[in-house]
Protein backbone atom coordinates (compact mmCIF):
# COMPACT_ATOMS: atom_id res chain seq x y z
CA UNK A 1 0.00 0.00 0.00
CA UNK A 2 1.26 3.46 -0.84
CA UNK A 3 2.46 5.74 1.90
CA UNK A 4 -0.08 7.98 3.63
CA UNK A 5 0.93 11.22 5.35
CA UNK A 6 -1.24 13.78 7.06
CA UNK A 7 -0.19 17.39 7.59
CA UNK A 8 -2.32 18.56 10.50
CA UNK A 9 -2.61 20.77 13.54
CA UNK A 10 -3.40 19.58 17.07
CA UNK A 11 -6.41 21.81 17.69
CA UNK A 12 -7.97 21.93 14.23
CA UNK A 13 -11.33 20.14 13.93
CA UNK A 14 -10.60 19.83 10.20
CA UNK A 15 -7.40 17.95 10.98
CA UNK A 16 -9.37 15.64 13.30
CA UNK A 17 -11.93 14.89 10.60
CA UNK A 18 -9.20 13.23 8.57
CA UNK A 19 -7.68 11.44 11.59
CA UNK A 20 -11.05 9.98 12.58
CA UNK A 21 -11.75 8.78 9.03
CA UNK A 22 -8.33 7.12 8.70
CA UNK A 23 -8.63 5.49 12.13
CA UNK A 24 -12.16 4.21 11.46
CA UNK A 25 -10.91 2.54 8.29
CA UNK A 26 -7.76 1.22 9.95
CA UNK A 27 -5.37 3.08 7.65
CA UNK A 28 -1.80 3.54 8.85
CA UNK A 29 -0.45 7.02 8.30
CA UNK A 30 2.38 9.30 9.31
CA UNK A 31 1.22 12.40 11.12
CA UNK A 32 3.16 15.64 10.75
CA UNK A 33 2.25 18.53 13.04
CA UNK A 34 2.38 21.94 11.34
CA UNK A 35 3.34 25.16 13.08
CA UNK A 36 0.96 27.53 11.31
CA UNK A 37 3.06 30.55 12.29
CA UNK A 38 5.98 28.94 10.45
CA UNK A 39 4.56 26.80 7.66
CA UNK A 40 6.75 24.00 6.33
CA UNK A 41 8.02 24.02 2.73
CA UNK A 42 6.13 20.73 2.30
CA UNK A 43 2.81 22.35 3.23
CA UNK A 44 3.40 25.31 0.92
CA UNK A 45 4.36 22.95 -1.89
CA UNK A 46 1.38 20.63 -1.32
CA UNK A 47 -1.23 23.34 -0.84
CA UNK A 48 -0.02 26.41 -2.73
CA UNK A 49 -3.58 27.70 -3.23
CA UNK A 50 -4.73 27.87 0.40
CA UNK A 51 -1.53 27.10 2.38
CA UNK A 52 -3.73 25.40 4.97
CA UNK A 53 -4.01 22.12 6.79
CA UNK A 54 -5.17 19.42 6.64
CA UNK A 55 -3.39 17.99 3.62
CA UNK A 56 -3.43 14.27 2.91
CA UNK A 57 -0.46 13.02 0.90
CA UNK A 58 -1.08 9.60 -0.66
CA UNK A 59 1.72 8.05 -2.67
CA UNK A 60 3.29 11.50 -2.89
CA UNK A 61 0.14 13.16 -4.27
CA UNK A 62 -1.51 15.85 -2.13
CA UNK A 63 -5.24 16.22 -1.53
CA UNK A 64 -6.48 19.43 0.14
CA UNK A 65 -9.72 20.58 1.81
CA UNK A 66 -10.96 18.26 4.56
CA UNK A 67 -14.36 17.41 3.03
CA UNK A 68 -12.64 16.61 -0.29
CA UNK A 69 -10.12 14.46 1.61
CA UNK A 70 -12.98 12.57 3.34
CA UNK A 71 -14.57 11.70 -0.04
CA UNK A 72 -11.15 10.60 -1.34
CA UNK A 73 -10.52 8.37 1.69
CA UNK A 74 -13.99 6.81 1.26
CA UNK A 75 -13.26 5.95 -2.37
CA UNK A 76 -9.74 4.61 -1.93
CA UNK A 77 -10.54 2.57 1.20
CA UNK A 78 -14.18 1.48 0.98
CA UNK A 79 -14.08 -0.70 4.12
CA UNK A 80 -16.16 0.53 7.09
CA UNK A 81 -18.12 2.72 4.72
CA UNK A 82 -18.72 6.31 5.84
CA UNK A 83 -21.36 7.17 3.23
CA UNK A 84 -24.62 5.36 2.43
CA UNK A 85 -24.97 3.46 -0.86
CA UNK A 86 -28.21 5.05 -2.06
CA UNK A 87 -27.62 8.24 -4.11
CA UNK A 88 -30.44 10.14 -2.40
CA UNK A 89 -29.20 9.29 1.07
CA UNK A 90 -25.69 10.25 -0.04
CA UNK A 91 -27.10 13.61 -1.17
CA UNK A 92 -28.66 14.16 2.26
CA UNK A 93 -25.34 13.27 3.89
CA UNK A 94 -23.43 15.65 1.59
CA UNK A 95 -25.95 18.41 2.28
CA UNK A 96 -25.16 18.20 6.02
CA UNK A 97 -21.42 17.87 5.45
CA UNK A 98 -21.61 21.10 3.44
CA UNK A 99 -23.69 22.69 6.20
CA UNK A 100 -20.95 21.73 8.67
CA UNK A 101 -18.39 23.34 6.33
CA UNK A 102 -20.37 26.52 5.61
CA UNK A 103 -22.22 27.21 8.87
CA UNK A 104 -20.32 25.21 11.49
CA UNK A 105 -17.29 27.51 11.81
CA UNK A 106 -19.30 30.30 13.50
CA UNK A 107 -18.83 28.40 16.76
CA UNK A 108 -15.05 28.72 16.64
CA UNK A 109 -15.40 32.50 16.53
CA UNK A 110 -16.95 32.79 20.00
CA UNK A 111 -13.67 32.63 21.90
CA UNK A 112 -11.96 35.14 19.63
CA UNK A 113 -14.61 37.87 19.95
CA UNK A 114 -15.71 40.22 22.72
CA UNK A 115 -18.70 42.30 23.77
CA UNK A 116 -21.40 43.01 21.20
CA UNK A 117 -19.63 41.08 18.46
CA UNK A 118 -19.41 38.03 20.71
CA UNK A 119 -23.14 38.27 21.50
CA UNK A 120 -23.93 38.31 17.79
CA UNK A 121 -21.69 35.31 17.17
CA UNK A 122 -23.31 33.42 20.07
CA UNK A 123 -26.79 34.11 18.66
CA UNK A 124 -25.73 32.92 15.20
CA UNK A 125 -24.17 29.81 16.72
CA UNK A 126 -27.37 28.97 18.59
CA UNK A 127 -29.36 29.41 15.36
CA UNK A 128 -26.98 27.07 13.59
CA UNK A 129 -27.27 24.45 16.36
CA UNK A 130 -31.07 24.79 16.32
CA UNK A 131 -31.11 24.00 12.58
CA UNK A 132 -29.11 20.83 13.13
CA UNK A 133 -31.30 19.88 16.09
CA UNK A 134 -34.54 20.37 14.15
CA UNK A 135 -33.63 19.24 10.66
CA UNK A 136 -30.44 17.24 10.72
CA UNK A 137 -30.43 14.63 13.44
CA UNK A 138 -33.86 13.12 13.78
CA UNK A 139 -34.10 10.56 16.56
CA UNK A 140 -31.13 8.53 15.47
CA UNK A 141 -28.00 7.75 17.43
CA UNK A 142 -25.80 9.25 14.72
CA UNK A 143 -26.59 11.43 11.69
CA UNK A 144 -26.67 8.41 9.38
CA UNK A 145 -28.41 5.97 11.72
CA UNK A 146 -26.88 3.45 14.11
CA UNK A 147 -23.31 3.83 12.98
CA UNK A 148 -20.87 6.72 12.76
CA UNK A 149 -20.54 8.21 9.27
CA UNK A 150 -19.00 11.09 7.35
CA UNK A 151 -21.63 13.56 8.59
CA UNK A 152 -20.79 12.84 12.24
CA UNK A 153 -17.12 13.27 11.42
CA UNK A 154 -17.84 16.58 9.67
CA UNK A 155 -19.66 17.86 12.78
CA UNK A 156 -17.10 16.28 15.10
CA UNK A 157 -15.64 19.58 16.26
CA UNK A 158 -19.02 20.36 17.83
CA UNK A 159 -18.52 17.40 20.15
CA UNK A 160 -15.52 18.88 21.95
CA UNK A 161 -15.68 22.61 21.29
CA UNK A 162 -18.70 23.32 23.54
CA UNK A 163 -16.56 22.12 26.47
CA UNK A 164 -14.09 24.90 25.74
CA UNK A 165 -16.83 27.50 25.23
CA UNK A 166 -18.45 26.50 28.53
CA UNK A 167 -15.22 27.25 30.41
CA UNK A 168 -14.74 30.55 28.56
CA UNK A 169 -18.35 31.80 28.78
CA UNK A 170 -19.18 30.20 32.10
CA UNK A 171 -22.27 28.67 30.55
CA UNK A 172 -23.09 25.67 28.43
CA UNK A 173 -24.00 26.52 24.84
CA UNK A 174 -25.30 23.05 24.10
CA UNK A 175 -27.78 22.74 26.95
CA UNK A 176 -29.40 19.30 27.13
CA UNK A 177 -32.96 20.61 27.58
CA UNK A 178 -32.64 23.01 24.60
CA UNK A 179 -30.76 20.61 22.33
CA UNK A 180 -31.67 17.10 23.52
CA UNK A 181 -30.73 15.37 20.27
CA UNK A 182 -27.45 17.18 19.74
CA UNK A 183 -26.52 16.75 23.36
CA UNK A 184 -27.12 13.01 23.16
CA UNK A 185 -25.21 12.91 19.87
CA UNK A 186 -22.08 14.49 21.41
CA UNK A 187 -22.04 11.74 24.04
CA UNK A 188 -22.52 8.98 21.43
CA UNK A 189 -19.90 10.49 19.18
CA UNK A 190 -17.24 10.82 21.86
CA UNK A 191 -17.80 7.23 22.95
CA UNK A 192 -16.71 5.82 19.59
CA UNK A 193 -13.25 4.41 20.43
CA UNK A 194 -11.52 5.88 17.36
CA UNK A 195 -12.85 9.31 18.38
CA UNK A 196 -12.30 8.91 22.13
CA UNK A 197 -8.64 8.10 21.57
CA UNK A 198 -8.16 11.03 19.18
CA UNK A 199 -9.39 14.24 20.73
CA UNK A 200 -7.38 17.39 21.46
CA UNK A 201 -6.27 17.85 25.04
CA UNK A 202 -8.96 20.02 26.67
CA UNK A 203 -6.51 21.52 29.14
CA UNK A 204 -4.18 22.60 26.37
CA UNK A 205 -7.13 23.99 24.36
CA UNK A 206 -8.34 26.03 27.33
CA UNK A 207 -4.89 27.44 27.98
CA UNK A 208 -4.87 28.73 24.44
CA UNK A 209 -8.41 30.16 24.44
CA UNK A 210 -8.45 31.84 27.87
Amino acid sequence: MEEVKLLGMWLSPYSYRVIWALKLKGIAYEYMEEDLSNKSPLLLQCNPVHKKIPVLIHGGKPICESSVILEYIEEIWPQNSLLPCDPYERAIARFWIKFADDKGPIVWKICGTRGEERQKVIEESLEMLKTIEEHGLGDKKFFGGDNISMVDIAFGGLAYWPGVIEKVLGRNLLEAHKFPRLHAWTKNFEEVPEVKENLPDLGRLLKRET
Partner: protein, 227 residues
Protein backbone atom coordinates in the same frame (compact mmCIF):
# COMPACT_ATOMS: atom_id res chain seq x y z
CA UNK B 1 -42.85 -5.53 -0.43
CA UNK B 2 -40.90 -2.65 -1.99
CA UNK B 3 -41.44 -2.29 -5.76
CA UNK B 4 -38.33 -1.09 -7.55
CA UNK B 5 -39.05 1.58 -10.13
CA UNK B 6 -35.95 2.49 -12.17
CA UNK B 7 -34.96 5.69 -10.41
CA UNK B 8 -33.73 7.32 -13.60
CA UNK B 9 -37.23 7.19 -15.11
CA UNK B 10 -38.95 9.16 -12.37
CA UNK B 11 -39.96 12.78 -12.71
CA UNK B 12 -37.34 15.52 -12.41
CA UNK B 13 -38.13 19.10 -11.41
CA UNK B 14 -35.72 21.97 -10.94
CA UNK B 15 -36.55 25.05 -8.89
CA UNK B 16 -34.32 27.97 -9.95
CA UNK B 17 -34.45 31.51 -11.28
CA UNK B 18 -33.82 32.57 -14.89
CA UNK B 19 -30.44 34.10 -14.00
CA UNK B 20 -28.96 32.18 -11.07
CA UNK B 21 -25.47 30.79 -11.84
CA UNK B 22 -26.09 28.06 -9.26
CA UNK B 23 -29.16 26.94 -11.18
CA UNK B 24 -27.39 27.21 -14.54
CA UNK B 25 -24.74 24.69 -13.50
CA UNK B 26 -27.49 22.17 -12.67
CA UNK B 27 -29.31 22.79 -15.97
CA UNK B 28 -26.06 22.26 -17.88
CA UNK B 29 -25.44 18.97 -16.06
CA UNK B 30 -28.96 17.71 -16.80
CA UNK B 31 -28.66 18.71 -20.48
CA UNK B 32 -25.21 17.13 -20.84
CA UNK B 33 -26.73 13.86 -19.66
CA UNK B 34 -29.90 14.27 -21.72
CA UNK B 35 -32.23 14.31 -18.71
CA UNK B 36 -35.71 15.72 -19.22
CA UNK B 37 -36.79 18.03 -16.44
CA UNK B 38 -39.46 20.56 -15.60
CA UNK B 39 -38.07 24.01 -14.78
CA UNK B 40 -39.83 26.12 -12.17
CA UNK B 41 -38.53 29.70 -12.14
CA UNK B 42 -39.04 31.27 -8.74
CA UNK B 43 -39.61 34.90 -7.83
CA UNK B 44 -37.24 35.20 -4.89
CA UNK B 45 -39.14 38.17 -3.48
CA UNK B 46 -42.19 35.88 -3.23
CA UNK B 47 -40.96 32.33 -2.72
CA UNK B 48 -43.38 29.52 -3.43
CA UNK B 49 -44.71 27.35 -0.63
CA UNK B 50 -43.21 24.34 -2.38
CA UNK B 51 -39.70 25.83 -2.38
CA UNK B 52 -39.94 26.61 1.34
CA UNK B 53 -41.16 23.08 1.96
CA UNK B 54 -38.38 21.51 -0.13
CA UNK B 55 -35.55 23.65 1.28
CA UNK B 56 -36.52 24.61 4.82
CA UNK B 57 -32.90 25.08 5.94
CA UNK B 58 -31.79 27.68 3.38
CA UNK B 59 -35.02 28.55 1.49
CA UNK B 60 -32.88 29.00 -1.65
CA UNK B 61 -32.66 27.86 -5.24
CA UNK B 62 -31.66 25.63 -6.89
CA UNK B 63 -33.56 22.62 -5.59
CA UNK B 64 -33.76 19.43 -7.62
CA UNK B 65 -36.78 17.26 -6.94
CA UNK B 66 -36.47 13.70 -8.21
CA UNK B 67 -39.48 11.47 -7.81
CA UNK B 68 -40.81 13.80 -5.13
CA UNK B 69 -37.54 13.84 -3.14
CA UNK B 70 -35.78 17.23 -2.84
CA UNK B 71 -32.05 17.87 -2.98
CA UNK B 72 -30.62 21.31 -2.16
CA UNK B 73 -27.19 22.96 -2.63
CA UNK B 74 -25.97 23.00 -6.22
CA UNK B 75 -22.73 21.05 -5.63
CA UNK B 76 -24.66 18.34 -3.79
CA UNK B 77 -27.18 18.26 -6.65
CA UNK B 78 -24.37 17.87 -9.22
CA UNK B 79 -22.95 14.87 -7.32
CA UNK B 80 -26.44 13.35 -7.14
CA UNK B 81 -26.98 13.81 -10.87
CA UNK B 82 -23.60 12.21 -11.57
CA UNK B 83 -24.42 9.17 -9.41
CA UNK B 84 -27.99 8.72 -10.64
CA UNK B 85 -27.43 9.13 -14.39
CA UNK B 86 -24.15 7.51 -15.40
CA UNK B 87 -24.03 8.59 -19.06
CA UNK B 88 -21.66 11.43 -20.08
CA UNK B 89 -19.87 11.58 -16.75
CA UNK B 90 -18.83 14.97 -15.38
CA UNK B 91 -16.32 13.49 -12.95
CA UNK B 92 -13.32 11.32 -13.87
CA UNK B 93 -13.17 7.70 -12.68
CA UNK B 94 -9.99 8.03 -10.62
CA UNK B 95 -10.35 9.26 -7.04
CA UNK B 96 -7.51 11.78 -7.35
CA UNK B 97 -9.09 13.33 -10.46
CA UNK B 98 -12.41 13.54 -8.59
CA UNK B 99 -10.68 15.18 -5.63
CA UNK B 100 -9.14 17.82 -7.92
CA UNK B 101 -12.49 18.61 -9.57
CA UNK B 102 -14.16 18.93 -6.16
CA UNK B 103 -11.30 21.13 -4.91
CA UNK B 104 -11.79 23.59 -7.77
CA UNK B 105 -15.56 23.57 -7.39
CA UNK B 106 -15.13 24.57 -3.74
CA UNK B 107 -12.52 27.14 -4.74
CA UNK B 108 -14.93 28.85 -7.09
CA UNK B 109 -17.78 28.95 -4.58
CA UNK B 110 -15.74 29.87 -1.51
CA UNK B 111 -12.99 32.11 -2.92
CA UNK B 112 -13.34 33.29 -6.51
CA UNK B 113 -17.05 34.04 -6.76
CA UNK B 114 -17.28 35.85 -3.39
CA UNK B 115 -14.27 38.05 -4.18
CA UNK B 116 -15.68 39.03 -7.59
CA UNK B 117 -19.05 39.74 -5.97
CA UNK B 118 -17.29 41.88 -3.36
CA UNK B 119 -15.56 43.83 -6.12
CA UNK B 120 -18.98 44.40 -7.69
CA UNK B 121 -20.73 45.54 -4.51
CA UNK B 122 -18.02 47.51 -2.71
CA UNK B 123 -16.37 50.85 -3.32
CA UNK B 124 -12.99 52.51 -2.96
CA UNK B 125 -10.23 50.53 -1.24
CA UNK B 126 -12.58 47.65 -0.40
CA UNK B 127 -13.29 47.24 -4.12
CA UNK B 128 -9.58 47.43 -4.93
CA UNK B 129 -8.76 44.78 -2.34
CA UNK B 130 -11.56 42.50 -3.56
CA UNK B 131 -10.33 42.90 -7.16
CA UNK B 132 -6.81 42.07 -6.01
CA UNK B 133 -8.04 38.91 -4.28
CA UNK B 134 -10.07 37.91 -7.35
CA UNK B 135 -7.11 38.37 -9.69
CA UNK B 136 -4.86 36.36 -7.35
CA UNK B 137 -7.45 33.57 -7.34
CA UNK B 138 -7.63 33.68 -11.12
CA UNK B 139 -3.87 33.09 -11.36
CA UNK B 140 -4.37 29.66 -9.78
CA UNK B 141 -7.30 28.93 -12.07
CA UNK B 142 -5.26 29.95 -15.14
CA UNK B 143 -2.48 27.59 -14.03
CA UNK B 144 -4.99 24.75 -13.75
CA UNK B 145 -5.97 25.15 -17.41
CA UNK B 146 -2.42 24.54 -18.74
CA UNK B 147 -2.49 21.93 -21.51
CA UNK B 148 -6.27 21.52 -21.28
CA UNK B 149 -9.23 22.58 -23.35
CA UNK B 150 -11.58 22.34 -20.41
CA UNK B 151 -10.97 21.88 -16.68
CA UNK B 152 -12.29 18.38 -17.25
CA UNK B 153 -9.74 17.75 -20.03
CA UNK B 154 -11.11 17.13 -23.52
CA UNK B 155 -14.67 17.24 -22.24
CA UNK B 156 -16.65 19.52 -19.95
CA UNK B 157 -16.51 18.38 -16.32
CA UNK B 158 -17.72 19.42 -12.89
CA UNK B 159 -15.24 22.28 -12.53
CA UNK B 160 -16.24 23.72 -15.93
CA UNK B 161 -19.90 23.72 -14.92
CA UNK B 162 -19.05 25.44 -11.64
CA UNK B 163 -16.75 28.07 -13.19
CA UNK B 164 -19.20 28.47 -16.07
CA UNK B 165 -20.99 31.46 -14.51
CA UNK B 166 -17.91 33.51 -15.32
CA UNK B 167 -18.38 32.94 -19.03
CA UNK B 168 -21.99 34.08 -18.73
CA UNK B 169 -21.35 37.15 -16.57
CA UNK B 170 -17.88 38.46 -17.39
CA UNK B 171 -19.04 40.92 -20.08
CA UNK B 172 -22.00 41.97 -17.91
CA UNK B 173 -19.71 42.92 -15.03
CA UNK B 174 -17.45 44.83 -17.40
CA UNK B 175 -20.35 46.77 -18.89
CA UNK B 176 -22.12 47.50 -15.62
CA UNK B 177 -19.25 47.91 -13.15
CA UNK B 178 -16.12 48.38 -15.24
CA UNK B 179 -14.70 45.13 -13.86
CA UNK B 180 -12.58 43.26 -16.36
CA UNK B 181 -12.33 39.73 -14.95
CA UNK B 182 -10.44 37.98 -16.50
CA UNK B 183 -8.39 40.41 -18.56
CA UNK B 184 -5.76 39.73 -21.27
CA UNK B 185 -3.23 38.62 -18.64
CA UNK B 186 -5.21 35.35 -18.51
CA UNK B 187 -5.07 33.97 -22.08
CA UNK B 188 -5.97 30.39 -21.11
CA UNK B 189 -9.02 31.54 -19.17
CA UNK B 190 -10.11 33.77 -22.04
CA UNK B 191 -9.79 30.83 -24.45
CA UNK B 192 -11.74 28.64 -22.02
CA UNK B 193 -14.53 31.26 -21.74
CA UNK B 194 -14.89 31.09 -25.51
CA UNK B 195 -14.85 27.26 -25.73
CA UNK B 196 -17.32 26.91 -22.88
CA UNK B 197 -19.81 29.48 -24.10
CA UNK B 198 -19.76 28.05 -27.65
CA UNK B 199 -20.36 24.45 -26.60
CA UNK B 200 -23.71 23.45 -28.18
CA UNK B 201 -25.21 22.05 -24.96
CA UNK B 202 -24.06 25.01 -22.85
CA UNK B 203 -25.18 27.77 -25.18
CA UNK B 204 -28.61 26.17 -25.36
CA UNK B 205 -29.17 27.43 -21.82
CA UNK B 206 -27.62 30.86 -21.62
CA UNK B 207 -29.19 33.61 -19.51
CA UNK B 208 -29.44 36.41 -22.09
CA UNK B 209 -26.87 39.20 -21.97
CA UNK B 210 -29.23 42.18 -22.35
CA UNK B 211 -31.58 40.95 -19.65
CA UNK B 212 -28.61 40.31 -17.34
CA UNK B 213 -27.27 43.83 -17.92
CA UNK B 214 -30.61 45.30 -16.86
CA UNK B 215 -30.73 43.11 -13.75
CA UNK B 216 -27.15 43.78 -12.66
CA UNK B 217 -27.38 47.48 -13.49
CA UNK B 218 -30.30 47.75 -11.06
CA UNK B 219 -28.35 45.79 -8.44
CA UNK B 220 -25.27 47.95 -8.96
CA UNK B 221 -27.29 51.09 -8.39
CA UNK B 222 -28.63 49.65 -5.17
CA UNK B 223 -25.11 49.03 -3.88
CA UNK B 224 -23.75 52.33 -5.20
CA UNK B 225 -26.51 54.90 -4.74
CA UNK B 226 -25.86 58.16 -6.59
CA UNK B 227 -24.77 60.86 -4.20
Amino acid sequence: MKVEIPNSMAEVKLFKTWSTPFGARVVWALKLKGIQYEAIDEDLSNKSALLLQYNPVYKKVPVLVHDGKPISESLVILEYIEETWKQNPILPEDPLGKAKARFWAKFNDEKLLPSIWSAFTKEGTEREEAMGAALESLKFVEEELKGKKFFGGEKIGLADLVFGWLANLTRVFEEVAGLKIPDERYPLLLAWLQEFSEHPIIKDYWPPHDKLVIKYQALYEKFHPAK
